[in-house]
Protein backbone atom coordinates (compact mmCIF):
# COMPACT_ATOMS: atom_id res chain seq x y z
CA UNK A 1 0.00 0.00 0.00
CA UNK A 2 2.61 2.62 0.84
CA UNK A 3 4.24 3.91 -2.33
CA UNK A 4 7.65 3.52 -0.74
CA UNK A 5 7.07 0.24 1.05
CA UNK A 6 10.76 -0.59 0.98
CA UNK A 7 11.62 2.52 2.96
CA UNK A 8 10.56 1.97 6.55
CA UNK A 9 11.03 5.65 7.36
CA UNK A 10 7.80 6.42 5.55
CA UNK A 11 5.09 6.52 8.17
CA UNK A 12 1.69 8.01 7.56
CA UNK A 13 0.74 8.35 11.20
CA UNK A 14 1.68 6.78 14.56
CA UNK A 15 -1.74 5.08 14.59
CA UNK A 16 -1.41 3.64 11.10
CA UNK A 17 -1.64 -0.17 11.42
CA UNK A 18 0.54 -1.13 8.46
CA UNK A 19 3.68 -3.08 9.31
CA UNK A 20 6.26 -5.11 7.43
CA UNK A 21 7.65 -8.50 8.36
CA UNK A 22 6.23 -11.44 10.28
CA UNK A 23 2.50 -11.68 10.93
CA UNK A 24 0.07 -14.42 12.10
CA UNK A 25 2.79 -15.45 14.53
CA UNK A 26 0.59 -17.45 16.90
CA UNK A 27 -0.35 -19.95 14.21
CA UNK A 28 3.25 -20.25 13.01
CA UNK A 29 4.62 -20.79 16.51
CA UNK A 30 1.92 -23.32 17.39
CA UNK A 31 2.93 -25.32 14.32
CA UNK A 32 6.54 -25.17 15.50
CA UNK A 33 5.57 -26.34 19.00
CA UNK A 34 3.63 -29.21 17.45
CA UNK A 35 6.57 -30.13 15.24
CA UNK A 36 8.75 -30.48 18.35
CA UNK A 37 6.64 -33.58 19.25
CA UNK A 38 7.20 -32.94 22.94
CA UNK A 39 6.52 -35.87 25.26
CA UNK A 40 5.01 -35.91 28.74
CA UNK A 41 8.09 -34.16 30.14
CA UNK A 42 8.90 -30.70 28.86
CA UNK A 43 9.93 -27.30 30.09
CA UNK A 44 8.71 -23.81 29.17
CA UNK A 45 9.40 -20.27 30.30
CA UNK A 46 6.85 -17.60 31.17
CA UNK A 47 7.59 -13.88 30.77
CA UNK A 48 5.20 -10.95 30.81
CA UNK A 49 4.73 -7.18 30.64
CA UNK A 50 7.67 -6.36 28.39
CA UNK A 51 6.22 -3.01 27.32
CA UNK A 52 8.80 -0.31 26.59
CA UNK A 53 11.65 -2.57 27.83
CA UNK A 54 13.41 -3.69 24.65
CA UNK A 55 16.85 -3.91 26.25
CA UNK A 56 15.54 -6.08 29.13
CA UNK A 57 13.60 -8.18 26.64
CA UNK A 58 16.73 -8.72 24.54
CA UNK A 59 18.49 -9.79 27.73
CA UNK A 60 15.80 -12.29 28.72
CA UNK A 61 15.75 -13.70 25.19
CA UNK A 62 19.53 -14.16 25.30
CA UNK A 63 19.32 -15.65 28.80
CA UNK A 64 16.63 -18.17 27.86
CA UNK A 65 18.37 -19.06 24.59
CA UNK A 66 21.65 -19.65 26.46
CA UNK A 67 20.06 -22.12 28.90
CA UNK A 68 19.35 -24.64 26.18
CA UNK A 69 16.69 -26.44 28.23
CA UNK A 70 13.56 -24.45 27.35
CA UNK A 71 11.20 -26.00 24.80
CA UNK A 72 9.02 -22.93 24.25
CA UNK A 73 8.19 -19.57 25.78
CA UNK A 74 4.85 -18.05 26.79
CA UNK A 75 4.36 -14.26 26.95
CA UNK A 76 1.65 -13.02 29.32
CA UNK A 77 0.67 -9.83 27.42
CA UNK A 78 1.41 -6.11 27.49
CA UNK A 79 4.03 -6.11 24.77
CA UNK A 80 3.28 -2.44 24.21
CA UNK A 81 2.61 0.54 26.43
CA UNK A 82 0.47 2.59 24.05
CA UNK A 83 -0.79 0.00 21.55
CA UNK A 84 1.37 1.59 18.84
CA UNK A 85 2.34 -0.22 15.65
CA UNK A 86 5.94 0.89 16.24
CA UNK A 87 5.91 -0.74 19.68
CA UNK A 88 4.43 -4.00 18.38
CA UNK A 89 7.08 -4.15 15.64
CA UNK A 90 9.99 -3.35 17.97
CA UNK A 91 8.81 -5.91 20.54
CA UNK A 92 8.15 -8.54 17.89
CA UNK A 93 11.66 -8.00 16.53
CA UNK A 94 13.09 -8.58 20.01
CA UNK A 95 11.00 -11.68 20.70
CA UNK A 96 11.60 -13.34 17.32
CA UNK A 97 15.22 -13.78 18.48
CA UNK A 98 13.98 -16.67 20.64
CA UNK A 99 15.52 -19.84 19.26
CA UNK A 100 12.44 -21.76 20.37
CA UNK A 101 8.74 -21.16 19.57
CA UNK A 102 6.96 -18.48 21.58
CA UNK A 103 3.30 -17.63 21.97
CA UNK A 104 1.49 -14.75 23.62
CA UNK A 105 -1.82 -13.39 24.83
CA UNK A 106 -3.13 -9.82 24.63
CA UNK A 107 -2.70 -7.40 27.53
CA UNK A 108 -4.74 -4.33 28.40
CA UNK A 109 -2.07 -1.93 27.09
CA UNK A 110 -2.03 -3.85 23.80
CA UNK A 111 -5.71 -2.92 23.41
CA UNK A 112 -5.14 0.85 23.38
CA UNK A 113 -6.10 2.72 20.23
CA UNK A 114 -5.95 0.34 17.27
CA UNK A 115 -3.82 -2.11 19.29
CA UNK A 116 -6.36 -4.94 19.29
CA UNK A 117 -6.47 -4.83 15.47
CA UNK A 118 -2.66 -4.83 15.21
CA UNK A 119 -2.39 -7.69 17.73
CA UNK A 120 -4.78 -9.79 15.68
CA UNK A 121 -2.88 -9.02 12.47
CA UNK A 122 0.53 -9.71 13.99
CA UNK A 123 -0.34 -12.64 16.27
CA UNK A 124 -3.86 -13.95 15.73
CA UNK A 125 -6.78 -15.03 17.92
CA UNK A 126 -7.33 -13.50 21.34
CA UNK A 127 -8.48 -16.88 22.77
CA UNK A 128 -6.80 -20.09 21.67
CA UNK A 129 -5.49 -23.34 23.01
CA UNK A 130 -2.98 -26.06 22.27
CA UNK A 131 -1.86 -29.39 23.68
CA UNK A 132 1.68 -30.35 24.61
CA UNK A 133 2.21 -33.83 26.01
CA UNK A 134 -0.71 -34.40 28.35
CA UNK A 135 -1.18 -30.68 29.04
CA UNK A 136 -3.83 -28.44 27.54
CA UNK A 137 -2.84 -24.76 27.45
CA UNK A 138 -5.79 -22.37 27.61
CA UNK A 139 -4.64 -18.98 26.38
CA UNK A 140 -7.48 -16.64 27.29
CA UNK A 141 -8.18 -12.96 26.97
CA UNK A 142 -9.21 -11.55 30.37
CA UNK A 143 -8.92 -7.77 29.89
CA UNK A 144 -12.65 -7.08 29.99
CA UNK A 145 -12.50 -3.45 31.05
CA UNK A 146 -10.94 -2.36 27.72
CA UNK A 147 -14.14 -3.26 25.86
CA UNK A 148 -16.51 -2.01 28.58
CA UNK A 149 -17.77 -5.57 29.15
CA UNK A 150 -19.54 -5.34 25.77
CA UNK A 151 -17.66 -8.41 24.51
CA UNK A 152 -17.68 -11.67 26.48
CA UNK A 153 -14.32 -11.59 28.23
CA UNK A 154 -13.52 -14.17 29.51
CA UNK A 155 -15.33 -16.02 26.75
CA UNK A 156 -17.31 -18.80 28.42
CA UNK A 157 -18.40 -20.18 25.05
CA UNK A 158 -14.74 -20.72 24.28
CA UNK A 159 -14.25 -22.41 27.66
CA UNK A 160 -17.32 -24.58 27.07
CA UNK A 161 -15.99 -25.72 23.69
CA UNK A 162 -12.66 -26.49 25.32
CA UNK A 163 -14.28 -28.56 28.09
CA UNK A 164 -16.25 -30.50 25.47
CA UNK A 165 -13.14 -31.02 23.35
CA UNK A 166 -11.08 -32.28 26.30
CA UNK A 167 -13.90 -34.58 27.41
CA UNK A 168 -14.25 -36.01 23.91
CA UNK A 169 -10.49 -36.64 23.65
CA UNK A 170 -10.31 -38.20 27.09
CA UNK A 171 -13.37 -40.36 26.33
CA UNK A 172 -11.45 -42.05 23.52
CA UNK A 173 -8.00 -42.02 25.14
CA UNK A 174 -8.46 -41.74 28.92
CA UNK A 175 -6.11 -39.25 30.60
CA UNK A 176 -4.53 -38.16 27.34
CA UNK A 177 -5.19 -34.63 28.62
CA UNK A 178 -4.47 -34.78 32.34
CA UNK A 179 -3.38 -31.24 33.15
CA UNK A 180 -4.43 -27.70 32.25
CA UNK A 181 -2.41 -24.52 32.25
CA UNK A 182 -4.48 -21.34 32.06
CA UNK A 183 -2.57 -18.31 30.78
CA UNK A 184 -4.21 -14.92 31.24
CA UNK A 185 -3.01 -11.33 31.43
CA UNK A 186 -5.23 -10.06 34.21
CA UNK A 187 -6.39 -12.46 36.95
CA UNK A 188 -9.76 -12.46 38.76
CA UNK A 189 -10.29 -9.57 41.21
CA UNK A 190 -8.01 -7.29 39.14
CA UNK A 191 -9.61 -4.10 37.90
CA UNK A 192 -9.29 -5.33 34.29
CA UNK A 193 -11.06 -8.66 34.96
CA UNK A 194 -14.83 -8.84 34.68
CA UNK A 195 -15.29 -9.29 38.42
CA UNK A 196 -18.99 -9.98 38.05
CA UNK A 197 -18.02 -13.44 36.79
CA UNK A 198 -15.22 -14.29 39.22
CA UNK A 199 -17.15 -17.14 40.81
CA UNK A 200 -18.56 -18.57 37.57
CA UNK A 201 -15.03 -18.41 36.17
CA UNK A 202 -13.73 -20.33 39.18
CA UNK A 203 -16.49 -22.92 38.74
CA UNK A 204 -15.55 -23.34 35.08
CA UNK A 205 -11.92 -23.86 36.03
CA UNK A 206 -13.02 -26.94 37.97
CA UNK A 207 -14.35 -28.53 34.77
CA UNK A 208 -10.80 -28.74 33.43
CA UNK A 209 -8.45 -31.68 34.09
CA UNK A 210 -6.31 -31.38 37.19
CA UNK A 211 -8.16 -28.36 38.55
CA UNK A 212 -9.98 -30.32 41.26
CA UNK A 213 -8.12 -32.10 44.06
CA UNK A 214 -8.41 -35.91 44.15
CA UNK A 215 -8.35 -35.84 47.97
CA UNK A 216 -8.94 -33.01 50.42
CA UNK A 217 -5.93 -30.71 50.68
CA UNK A 218 -4.09 -32.52 47.89
CA UNK A 219 -1.82 -30.59 45.55
CA UNK A 220 -3.44 -29.70 42.20
CA UNK A 221 -1.53 -30.62 39.07
CA UNK A 222 -3.07 -27.77 37.07
CA UNK A 223 -2.56 -24.04 37.61
CA UNK A 224 -2.94 -20.54 36.20
CA UNK A 225 -0.31 -18.04 35.02
CA UNK A 226 -0.86 -14.32 34.86
CA UNK A 227 0.94 -11.05 34.24
CA UNK A 228 -0.37 -7.50 34.60
CA UNK A 229 0.36 -6.88 38.30
CA UNK A 230 4.11 -6.36 37.88
CA UNK A 231 4.73 -8.54 40.95
CA UNK A 232 5.96 -12.09 41.26
CA UNK A 233 3.45 -13.71 43.60
CA UNK A 234 1.48 -16.91 44.07
CA UNK A 235 -2.13 -16.60 45.19
CA UNK A 236 -4.94 -19.03 45.94
CA UNK A 237 -7.56 -16.49 44.88
CA UNK A 238 -10.65 -18.59 45.58
CA UNK A 239 -9.40 -20.63 48.53
CA UNK A 240 -9.96 -23.83 46.59
CA UNK A 241 -6.34 -24.72 45.91
CA UNK A 242 -6.20 -23.33 42.32
CA UNK A 243 -2.98 -21.32 42.29
CA UNK A 244 -2.42 -18.17 40.25
CA UNK A 245 1.26 -17.62 39.58
CA UNK A 246 1.85 -13.98 38.68
CA UNK A 247 5.16 -12.96 37.13
CA UNK A 248 6.58 -9.45 37.44
CA UNK A 249 7.21 -7.13 34.49
CA UNK A 250 10.40 -7.81 32.55
CA UNK A 251 12.08 -4.65 33.86
CA UNK A 252 12.26 -6.37 37.27
CA UNK A 253 14.24 -9.07 35.46
CA UNK A 254 12.54 -12.28 36.51
CA UNK A 255 10.86 -15.09 34.64
CA UNK A 256 9.35 -18.46 35.47
CA UNK A 257 10.67 -21.79 34.30
CA UNK A 258 7.96 -24.41 34.50
CA UNK A 259 8.81 -28.08 34.23
CA UNK A 260 6.05 -30.56 33.50
CA UNK A 261 6.72 -34.19 34.32
CA UNK A 262 4.88 -37.21 35.71
CA UNK A 263 1.56 -35.33 35.43
CA UNK A 264 2.88 -32.74 37.86
CA UNK A 265 4.76 -29.46 37.63
CA UNK A 266 7.54 -27.46 39.22
CA UNK A 267 7.87 -23.67 39.01
CA UNK A 268 11.18 -21.94 39.44
CA UNK A 269 11.64 -18.17 39.55
CA UNK A 270 14.76 -17.17 37.62
CA UNK A 271 16.58 -13.84 37.95
CA UNK A 272 18.63 -12.69 34.99
Amino acid sequence: MPLLAGCNMIQYHPYECHFDGDRHLTQKNLQQIESLRLGPTFRFAFISDTQRCYDDTDDVVAHINARGDIDFVVHGGDMTDFGLTDEFVWMRNSLTAFQMPWVSIIGNHDYLGHGEYIYQEMFGDLNYSFTVGHVRFEMINTVALELDYSTPIPDFDFLEREVNYIDSVNAVHPDSIAQTVFVMHSRPFDEQFNNNVNKPFDRYLHFFPGMTADAEGAHLRSFCLNGHNHHTQTLDLFGDGILFYGICNIHKRQYYVITISNNDYEIETVDF
Binding site: M1, P2, C7, Y15, D81, F82
Partner: protein, 249 residues
Protein backbone atom coordinates in the same frame (compact mmCIF):
# COMPACT_ATOMS: atom_id res chain seq x y z
CA UNK B 1 -10.95 19.18 -7.08
CA UNK B 2 -11.96 20.46 -3.69
CA UNK B 3 -8.39 21.53 -3.10
CA UNK B 4 -8.42 23.43 -6.36
CA UNK B 5 -11.62 25.13 -5.33
CA UNK B 6 -10.05 25.99 -1.98
CA UNK B 7 -7.01 27.49 -3.65
CA UNK B 8 -9.15 29.54 -6.02
CA UNK B 9 -11.15 30.90 -3.13
CA UNK B 10 -7.90 31.90 -1.46
CA UNK B 11 -6.83 33.62 -4.65
CA UNK B 12 -10.06 35.55 -4.74
CA UNK B 13 -9.38 36.69 -1.19
CA UNK B 14 -5.82 37.53 -2.14
CA UNK B 15 -7.10 39.80 -4.94
CA UNK B 16 -9.18 41.67 -2.39
CA UNK B 17 -6.08 42.04 -0.27
CA UNK B 18 -4.12 43.45 -3.18
CA UNK B 19 -6.89 45.90 -3.96
CA UNK B 20 -7.16 46.99 -0.36
CA UNK B 21 -3.46 47.62 -0.07
CA UNK B 22 -3.30 49.61 -3.28
CA UNK B 23 -6.50 51.58 -3.02
CA UNK B 24 -4.61 54.87 -2.56
CA UNK B 25 -3.18 54.59 -6.06
CA UNK B 26 -6.19 53.04 -7.75
CA UNK B 27 -7.19 55.56 -10.43
CA UNK B 28 -10.05 53.53 -11.84
CA UNK B 29 -12.23 54.10 -8.83
CA UNK B 30 -12.59 57.85 -8.44
CA UNK B 31 -14.87 57.37 -5.47
CA UNK B 32 -12.04 55.69 -3.60
CA UNK B 33 -9.64 58.51 -4.54
CA UNK B 34 -12.10 61.06 -3.27
CA UNK B 35 -12.77 59.27 -0.01
CA UNK B 36 -9.04 58.62 0.53
CA UNK B 37 -8.38 62.36 0.02
CA UNK B 38 -10.65 63.34 2.90
CA UNK B 39 -11.42 60.21 4.95
CA UNK B 40 -13.59 60.63 7.96
CA UNK B 41 -12.61 58.94 11.21
CA UNK B 42 -15.32 56.37 10.55
CA UNK B 43 -13.97 55.60 7.05
CA UNK B 44 -10.46 55.27 8.43
CA UNK B 45 -11.70 52.88 11.07
CA UNK B 46 -13.54 50.76 8.46
CA UNK B 47 -10.45 50.70 6.26
CA UNK B 48 -8.25 49.75 9.19
CA UNK B 49 -10.60 47.01 10.32
CA UNK B 50 -10.83 45.57 6.80
CA UNK B 51 -7.06 45.54 6.51
CA UNK B 52 -6.63 43.77 9.83
CA UNK B 53 -9.14 41.09 8.82
CA UNK B 54 -7.36 40.66 5.50
CA UNK B 55 -4.22 39.75 7.43
CA UNK B 56 -6.07 36.52 8.28
CA UNK B 57 -6.19 35.55 4.63
CA UNK B 58 -3.96 32.47 4.24
CA UNK B 59 -0.88 33.05 2.11
CA UNK B 60 0.14 29.39 1.73
CA UNK B 61 -1.31 26.11 0.56
CA UNK B 62 0.28 22.74 1.39
CA UNK B 63 -0.08 19.16 0.20
CA UNK B 64 1.98 16.51 1.98
CA UNK B 65 2.61 12.79 1.64
CA UNK B 66 3.28 10.78 4.87
CA UNK B 67 5.25 12.35 7.74
CA UNK B 68 2.81 11.43 10.56
CA UNK B 69 0.11 13.79 9.27
CA UNK B 70 -1.85 11.17 7.32
CA UNK B 71 -1.19 9.26 4.13
CA UNK B 72 -2.00 12.49 2.34
CA UNK B 73 -2.68 15.78 4.07
CA UNK B 74 -3.65 19.15 2.67
CA UNK B 75 -4.24 22.53 4.15
CA UNK B 76 -3.31 26.16 4.24
CA UNK B 77 -1.15 28.47 6.25
CA UNK B 78 0.29 31.87 6.92
CA UNK B 79 3.84 33.20 6.76
CA UNK B 80 4.77 36.20 8.83
CA UNK B 81 7.50 37.90 10.79
CA UNK B 82 10.74 39.38 9.54
CA UNK B 83 11.54 37.93 6.10
CA UNK B 84 8.51 35.72 6.59
CA UNK B 85 10.55 33.34 8.71
CA UNK B 86 7.60 31.98 10.66
CA UNK B 87 4.81 29.86 9.26
CA UNK B 88 1.66 28.40 10.78
CA UNK B 89 -0.09 25.56 8.94
CA UNK B 90 -3.41 23.83 9.41
CA UNK B 91 -3.88 20.57 7.51
CA UNK B 92 -6.41 17.77 7.31
CA UNK B 93 -4.97 14.29 6.82
CA UNK B 94 -6.44 10.99 5.74
CA UNK B 95 -5.61 7.35 6.46
CA UNK B 96 -7.39 4.82 4.20
CA UNK B 97 -9.19 1.88 5.81
CA UNK B 98 -6.69 -0.57 4.29
CA UNK B 99 -4.21 0.65 6.94
CA UNK B 100 -6.30 -0.05 10.02
CA UNK B 101 -9.65 -1.19 11.37
CA UNK B 102 -11.27 1.83 9.70
CA UNK B 103 -10.40 4.94 7.71
CA UNK B 104 -9.23 7.85 9.85
CA UNK B 105 -9.26 11.61 9.46
CA UNK B 106 -6.86 13.79 11.41
CA UNK B 107 -6.06 17.45 11.90
CA UNK B 108 -2.58 18.94 12.24
CA UNK B 109 -1.53 22.34 13.54
CA UNK B 110 2.08 23.05 12.61
CA UNK B 111 4.54 25.85 13.35
CA UNK B 112 7.62 26.23 11.13
CA UNK B 113 10.72 28.35 11.59
CA UNK B 114 12.76 28.99 8.45
CA UNK B 115 15.85 30.85 9.67
CA UNK B 116 17.84 30.93 6.43
CA UNK B 117 17.04 31.29 2.76
CA UNK B 118 19.63 31.35 -0.01
CA UNK B 119 18.94 32.48 -3.57
CA UNK B 120 20.44 30.46 -6.40
CA UNK B 121 21.03 32.09 -9.80
CA UNK B 122 20.60 35.71 -10.88
CA UNK B 123 19.18 37.74 -8.03
CA UNK B 124 16.65 39.65 -10.09
CA UNK B 125 15.34 36.83 -12.24
CA UNK B 126 11.92 36.40 -10.66
CA UNK B 127 11.31 39.91 -9.48
CA UNK B 128 13.48 42.72 -10.90
CA UNK B 129 11.95 45.45 -8.75
CA UNK B 130 12.13 43.65 -5.43
CA UNK B 131 8.57 44.55 -4.57
CA UNK B 132 6.17 41.78 -3.63
CA UNK B 133 2.58 41.43 -4.77
CA UNK B 134 1.36 43.36 -1.73
CA UNK B 135 4.01 46.03 -2.10
CA UNK B 136 6.22 44.47 0.52
CA UNK B 137 10.02 44.48 0.02
CA UNK B 138 11.29 41.05 -1.01
CA UNK B 139 14.48 39.47 0.35
CA UNK B 140 16.88 38.79 -2.50
CA UNK B 141 16.55 35.03 -2.14
CA UNK B 142 12.94 35.37 -3.25
CA UNK B 143 13.92 37.40 -6.28
CA UNK B 144 16.23 34.68 -7.57
CA UNK B 145 14.96 31.87 -9.79
CA UNK B 146 15.48 29.24 -7.14
CA UNK B 147 15.92 29.55 -3.44
CA UNK B 148 17.07 27.00 -0.93
CA UNK B 149 16.08 26.81 2.72
CA UNK B 150 18.52 24.33 4.31
CA UNK B 151 16.72 24.07 7.65
CA UNK B 152 13.04 24.20 8.39
CA UNK B 153 12.41 23.55 12.09
CA UNK B 154 8.95 22.28 12.79
CA UNK B 155 6.70 21.49 15.74
CA UNK B 156 3.24 20.06 15.22
CA UNK B 157 0.26 18.74 17.09
CA UNK B 158 -1.96 16.11 15.53
CA UNK B 159 -5.37 14.90 16.62
CA UNK B 160 -7.20 11.89 15.22
CA UNK B 161 -10.98 11.84 14.82
CA UNK B 162 -11.68 8.32 16.04
CA UNK B 163 -13.72 7.14 19.03
CA UNK B 164 -11.04 4.64 20.06
CA UNK B 165 -8.85 7.52 21.25
CA UNK B 166 -9.39 9.95 24.10
CA UNK B 167 -8.08 13.27 25.34
CA UNK B 168 -9.24 12.67 28.90
CA UNK B 169 -8.94 9.05 29.96
CA UNK B 170 -12.40 7.55 30.59
CA UNK B 171 -13.46 7.29 34.24
CA UNK B 172 -13.52 3.50 34.02
CA UNK B 173 -9.74 3.51 34.31
CA UNK B 174 -9.23 4.04 38.01
CA UNK B 175 -11.22 7.28 37.89
CA UNK B 176 -9.33 8.44 34.79
CA UNK B 177 -5.77 8.10 36.06
CA UNK B 178 -4.36 4.79 34.86
CA UNK B 179 -2.74 5.24 31.46
CA UNK B 180 -2.05 8.94 31.98
CA UNK B 181 -1.63 10.08 28.39
CA UNK B 182 -4.03 11.70 25.90
CA UNK B 183 -4.17 9.08 23.15
CA UNK B 184 -6.06 11.41 20.83
CA UNK B 185 -3.30 14.04 20.65
CA UNK B 186 0.27 13.46 19.49
CA UNK B 187 3.10 15.97 19.68
CA UNK B 188 5.75 15.95 16.97
CA UNK B 189 9.04 17.71 16.27
CA UNK B 190 11.04 17.71 13.07
CA UNK B 191 13.61 19.22 10.76
CA UNK B 192 13.60 19.45 7.00
CA UNK B 193 14.80 21.38 3.95
CA UNK B 194 13.14 22.85 0.95
CA UNK B 195 13.80 24.08 -2.52
CA UNK B 196 11.60 26.84 -3.91
CA UNK B 197 10.92 27.93 -7.44
CA UNK B 198 10.15 31.65 -7.57
CA UNK B 199 7.80 32.31 -10.44
CA UNK B 200 8.75 35.36 -12.52
CA UNK B 201 6.35 38.27 -12.15
CA UNK B 202 5.07 38.14 -15.73
CA UNK B 203 4.31 34.43 -15.59
CA UNK B 204 2.42 34.26 -12.29
CA UNK B 205 -1.06 32.83 -12.54
CA UNK B 206 -2.04 31.40 -9.16
CA UNK B 207 1.14 31.35 -7.08
CA UNK B 208 4.28 33.41 -6.83
CA UNK B 209 6.31 30.55 -5.44
CA UNK B 210 6.20 26.74 -5.36
CA UNK B 211 8.35 24.89 -2.79
CA UNK B 212 9.24 21.21 -2.56
CA UNK B 213 10.22 19.94 0.87
CA UNK B 214 10.96 16.94 2.98
CA UNK B 215 10.64 16.75 6.74
CA UNK B 216 12.15 14.27 9.17
CA UNK B 217 10.17 14.10 12.39
CA UNK B 218 9.42 12.04 15.44
CA UNK B 219 6.71 12.04 18.09
CA UNK B 220 6.34 12.04 21.86
CA UNK B 221 5.47 8.35 22.41
CA UNK B 222 8.31 7.20 20.15
CA UNK B 223 10.76 9.30 22.18
CA UNK B 224 9.36 7.84 25.42
CA UNK B 225 10.01 4.37 23.96
CA UNK B 226 13.50 5.22 22.72
CA UNK B 227 14.92 7.03 25.75
CA UNK B 228 15.23 4.09 28.19
CA UNK B 229 16.39 1.66 25.50
CA UNK B 230 19.73 1.60 23.73
CA UNK B 231 18.18 -0.72 21.18
CA UNK B 232 15.84 1.96 19.82
CA UNK B 233 17.96 4.43 17.88
CA UNK B 234 17.16 7.81 16.39
CA UNK B 235 16.82 6.12 13.00
CA UNK B 236 14.07 3.89 14.38
CA UNK B 237 11.90 6.77 15.47
CA UNK B 238 12.39 9.17 12.55
CA UNK B 239 9.68 9.49 9.96
CA UNK B 240 9.99 11.00 6.51
CA UNK B 241 7.39 13.15 4.80
CA UNK B 242 7.38 14.98 1.46
CA UNK B 243 5.34 17.92 0.41
CA UNK B 244 4.65 20.82 -1.91
CA UNK B 245 3.97 24.28 -0.57
CA UNK B 246 2.34 26.98 -2.68
CA UNK B 247 2.71 30.63 -1.83
CA UNK B 248 -0.28 32.59 -3.04
CA UNK B 249 1.19 36.05 -2.43
Amino acid sequence: MKLKLLIFSFLAMADVAIFAQEEEICLLDTLVVETVAHPTAYEQRVKHRRERWLDLCPSLGIVQYAGDMGMVSAGFGWDYGRRERWETHVAVGFLPKELGPNADVMLTLRENLVPWSFGLGRRTWADPHGVGTLGNPLPWSRRAAVSFEPAVFTLFINTIFDDEFWIHEPDKYNGGSYYRFPSKIRFHAGLGSRLSLNIPQARRRHFDRVSFYYVLSTYDLAIINALPNEKISLGDILTLGFGVQYKFF
